[in-house]
Amino acid sequence: MLFGLEDWPVHIVVCVKQVPDTTSVRIDPETNTLIRAGVASIVNPFDMYAIEEALRIKDKLGGKVTAISMGPPQADAVLREAIAMGADEGILLTDRAFAGSDTWATSYTIAAAIRKLGAVDLIICGKQASDGDTAQVGPGIATHLDLPQVTYVRKIDEIAADHVVAERMLDEGSEIIRCPFPCMLTVVKELNEPRLPSLRGKMAAKKAQIILWGAKDFDCDPINLGLNGSPTKVVKIFTPAPRGGGEMLTGEPEEVARKLAEKIRDAVIAISG
């Protein structure tokens, strides 16, 4: 147990982020920039697997699932979605003081809020968020809380009240790791199939009181928050040069196969020849 004495049942915190739904993002063909107007917001896809796994563990061991997010007030929608799926409560960290947070400040803030929750056994995050793609916040939270971690979890082999045995997806294969509670896991898509919210869940989500915490509601140092607490700073944003005009190869199958082989012949020989 983290900062607590209870040892049963488990308390799982799942971290979720609201991101723009990239399925509805379109590129402006003239300016080659993103058209963001009217883009819907969704739960970060990887976080859906994190929520699902937290719920499965709760189903097995009993206990409580707390969903936590940081963002503007309207990000409460992702917490309601987690509650609709079965999470017990949602906490939204929202404050202008958090604006401009990079991964250092974000993980600091979320870790500080989790510390206030007291007894926590397990923190589950998605591998990365689809808007930033950093994969840094999960390990950052673990480090701020001095917890061990297993990243890229593709399968849980064993789970008990005090430890987990998880399979981590590496490029060369799977590493099977035993990790005591409390700890932090980041999860990938292969782990499970997220459930759809039940009607009862949807009702609960509608009625749920999302807990709102600002910087004054938990113990944190203002110097580490938001823009000021973020070591990194964006200095320039630009649109990459569009890929050089593509070439269409036409003709009968035999002909296009031969044309293509000619086109990429040198590159292939340089690699495989």
Binding site: D131, R154, P253
Partner: protein, 402 residues
């Protein structure tokens, strides 16, 4: 409001609308000929500040840190190794690191953690390193997040590097995210461009965001080391020069520092693949347009001849035609091969996010309107099932001749 992190001066703003176009987050609107920033959408990226011709937008500057930047010297590269074999991204980082170190007038150093890895230090010197710091300990036989992070934190604290680069690999990302928090450094993920700002000497780190549709350049002006993970296969390695001289430092780390709470039970190598997509120079990839799992044999045959890996779109993976470790795209892996051959993949934005930085993209698709054909270097409107065997035959000939 006075304490907002970003503000528009009503005296200077002319309502020209330039900032509306510049904002990648659709956070600015015009109200009564005045730009209004929606702080719930704004990420403080600063794009509008740059775009404004009237200096009407001001952003709160970070208060200067208390870190004495002059104490931090040298460019470091984390030398990733697996069972004693140096990961090729390490050589790419040394190639780039050499240039950065020369631009800064500093040394290029590699950090090698492992068990029985000492003799690999010379390989790192041959690829450009001036110094190699080696920690050779049984606790470091396998990558373990806590232990590796603890060793790296010890060395960073002791030597104070100015720049620390790691591959944006599974291991690299898990490791340095811990180190950056511990040493309070800025960390930029998955960089595809690195250079030294000639004026400030800061490291300019450029990375794709939103699946490569926008690029962001990021600095960490007040913290050191400046840390980046760097995408594999983007930077160029130097040719190995076995005669190159450098110094090797065997580092001691106090007992008790290298403790892991996790325990590695066992390792199961991926059996279904011969070449993994993160490493591959050529990827032959299939999507829903392959119609049935049996047709993936056609991809396997071409991949076999080319020495390529087999990738897949999310649709093919979700249909159960091939394992998740082959999935390219937003919920799979980001790949950057020299040649990517997409067969029967329409090219949704989520797929493009995972492969659009490949050098050469070939797309074969029946639908002439498939978005992938607009991204492709070479596009073919046709039936992949017909064309793939013909391509396999062509390359059998080509590669036999060479």
């Amino acid at each position: 409001m006075a304490n907002d992190p970003i503000a528009v001066s009503s005296e200077k703003c002319t309502g020209c609308g330039r900032c509306l176009k510049a904002c990648p987050f659709d956070a600015i609107t015009l109200k009564d000929k005045l730009a209004v920033i929606d702080l719930t959408k704004c990420t403080l990226c600063g794009a509008c500040v740059q775009s404004c011709k009237f200096e009407a937008i001001t952003m709160v500057e970070k208060t200067a840190g208390d870190v004495d930047l002059k104490l931090f010297r040298d460019v470091w590269v984390f030398a990733e190794q697996y069972e004693g074999k140096i990961h090729s991204v390490t050589y790419e980082l040394l190639g780039k690191g050499r240039k950065l170190a020369d631009d800064l007038g500093m040394a290029l150093c590699a950090v090698l953690l492992g068990k029985g890895v000492k003799e690999k230090a010379q390989d790192l010197i041959a690829r450009g390193a001036d110094k190699v710091y080696v920690v050779d300990r049984p606790e470091l036989e396998f990558f373990q997040d806590e232990v590796y992070a603890a060793a790296l934190v010890e060395l960073v604290t002791k030597y104070k590097p100015n720049v620390l680069l790691s591959g944006a690999t599974t291991i690299g990302r898990s490791l340095v995210a811990r180190v950056a928090v511990k040493v309070h450094a800025g960390l930029t993920a998955d960089c595809t461009g690195l250079e030294i700002d000639p004026q400030t000497k800061n490291l300019l780190q450029t990375r794709p965001a939103f699946g490569g549709n926008i690029m962001a350049t990021i600095v960490a002006p007040a913290n050191r080391p400046q840390m980046s993970t760097v995408r594999h296969k983007v930077m160029k390695e130097l040719a190995a020069d076995p005669a190159r001289k450098g110094r090797v430092f065997m580092e001691q780390i106090a007992e008790g520092v290298l403790k892991a709470r996790t325990q590695r039970v066992r390792f199961e190598p991926e059996t279904s693949t011969t070449v993994n997509i993160a490493e591959a120079d050529i990827i032959v990839s299939g999507g829903r347009g392959m119609l049935k799992p049996e047709n993936f044999a056609l991809l396997n045959e071409l991949a076999g001849v080319l020495g390529a890996a087999v990738g897949a779109s999310r649709a093919a993976v979700d249909a159960g035609w091939i394992g998740y470790s082959h999935q390219v795209g937003q919920t799979g892996k980001t790949v950057c091969p020299k040649i990517y051959i997409a067969c029967g993949i329409s090219g949704q934005i989520q797929h493009l996010a995972g492969m659009s930085s490949s050098d050469i993209i070939v797309a074969i698709n029946k639908d002439p309107d498939a978005p992938i054909l607009k991204t492709a270097t070479y596009g073919i409107v046709g039936d992949a099932m017909q064309i793939l065997p013909l391509l396999t035959a062509e390359f059998k000939k080509v590669l036999k001749k060479s």
